[in-house]
């Protein structure tokens, strides 16, 4: 069998396993949801009905999310993943060469089979794609939560970056709410490299020459942890803003 075909089959198996895990996760969520609805209904019929409608919405959304994830190469939805071709070598110009999934070593440890006290999580969480110093936009899931992580670089003053990010945080929050989602927490951190200067002398008779380099590179990072929207929906929202 050719190496290319082997790679293709391995990747196909990995996708299937990931999709199976997601389906398992959905079944677990559905069971928990039904149990919750029963408890709530016993306490208060009106609230129970409301809870049931919300739970149905959650399950519907997760099913559509699972379908979206099943269609993708990986449930981990970083930009480089979407550009994969079957042999995993075509990164389409993205500067993330070291993120080739075919080279990830799972060491025979099957994350998909873990059961952690009822918690379901994206099995690829443990891979570090958001490497420091690189722009990034990725989505992961953990139980009911959908987590978006973004890193962008901003050219301009620190004050402008803060204002820019304030607008983005608000816009993401509004779009999540408009999509019917619940905002767990959206938080951002803005970090400036800081001013720098170079001192130089060429003889011992004159003062040092000072050359100032004001900082114009600011790193913007944002984590969005939301509920009741699909990974695709959150990814779309973040991509529309960043």
């Amino acid at each position: 069998m050719s190496e290319e075909k082997k790679n293709s089959m391995n990747e196909s198996g990995s996708q299937k396993s990931s999709h199976q895990q997601y389906s398992k996760s959905l079944r677990h969520i559905a069971n928990e949801a039904i149990s919750l609805a029963e408890d709530i209904f016993l306490l208060n019929a009106e609230i129970g009905i409301f809870a049931l409608s919300k739970i149905k919405s959650v399950i519907d959304r997760r099913i559509s999310g699972a379908e979206a994830v099943g269609k993708a190469d990986h449930s981990h939805m970083g930009p480089d993943h979407d550009e994969h071709d079957q042999d995993g070598h075509d990164h389409d110009g993205h500067d993330h060469g070291e993120h080739d999934h075919d080279e990830h070593d799972h060491g025979g440890h099957d994350h998909d089979e873990h059961d952690h006290d009822g918690h379901d999580h994206d099995s690829e969480d443990e891979h570090d794609h958001a490497e420091e110093g690189q722009e990034y936009l990725g989505i992961t899931t953990h139980d009911e939560s959908v987590v978006g992580s973004v890193r962008r670089f901003y050219s301009g003053t620190y004050e402008d970056a803060v204002e820019y990010m304030q607008g983005k945080v608000k816009a993401v929050a509004e779009k999540v709410a408009a999509a019917g989602g619940i905002i767990g927490h959206i938080k951002a951190y803005i970090r400036s490299e800081g001013d720098s200067c170079m001192l130089s002398v060429t003889d011992d008779e004159s003062d040092s020459n000072i050359r100032m380099y004001p900082s114009e590179k600011t790193t913007l990072e944002m984590a969005s942890i939301v509920f009741l929207i699909t990974p695709d929906e959150l990814k779309g929202i973040l991509e529309s803003e960043f």
């Binding site: 873990h114 999580h121 443990e126 953990h142 939560s145 978006g148 619940i182 944002m222 009741l228």
Partner: protein, 198 residues
């Protein structure tokens, strides 16, 4: 080494409270300062809170990202605590859990794997409590389970009637914890921190 698990739902104010707690433990006198390590866990791939915490001083911060130590990366937590104990031998380790963690799971992991007892402190967001209780009906009450201290935060953002309702609701899920009202944006009474570490 005293191990404290700081839990509570997303946005409840864990990091804001933690900054004050850590400052209390470290104190103003470097010679008498307690050695404190914060383990910051975030489910996102990019850590935000650890950067906020690192901007403070007098304590060490260790970040654990891309998973939840109460379940998916519990092994990393055990390894981290063992390393911290060996390398730094701190007086206090404060574990800030993710907003979707069940602190009791962390307590059990640390107890079973390392035989280290822990205290659970749980933050509650008074402003969003009623709104979140139905959609997060298992998670939020589950986070209160076995908490020794519950800090009902953002009391400045709710009226007295709402606060009383939150109190009653919280008490319905945990009737043995000490409950305190705080506003983490303002100074938190040091007697609360003293109670936690007593």
């Amino acid at each position: 080494m005293k191990f404290i698990v700081l839990g509570g739902f997303l946005g409840a104010g864990k990091t804001s409270a933690l900054i004050q707690f850590a400052k209390y433990l470290v104190g103003d006198n470097p010679e008498k300062a307690a050695k404190c390590v914060i383990i910051e866990n975030e489910i996102g791939e990019i850590g935000i809170d650890d950067q906020v915490l690192k901007s403070g001083g007098g304590y060490d911060v260790k970040g654990l990202f891309s998973g939840c130590v109460c379940c998916s990366i519990s092994g990393e937590l055990v390894t981290s605590i063992a390393e911290i104990q060996k390398d730094l031998d701190p007086d206090y380790v404060i574990m800030e859990a993710t907003g979707v963690a069940y602190p009791k799971n962390i307590q059990e992991t640390v107890s079973n794997a390392l035989r280290i007892p822990s205290t659970i402190v749980c933050l509650v967001d008074a402003k969003r409590w009623k709104r979140l209780l139905i959609p997060m009906g298992m998670l939020i009450p589950g986070q209160l389970e076995d908490a020794s201290v519950i800090l009902i935060n953002k009391i400045d953002a709710v009226d007295a009637e709402t606060l009383a309702e939150v109190d009653e609701s919280v008490r319905g899920f945990n009737n043995h914890a000490d409950i305190f009202h705080i506003s983490a944006n303002e100074h938190i009474d040091e007697a609360i921190w003293a109670k936690i570490i007593e």
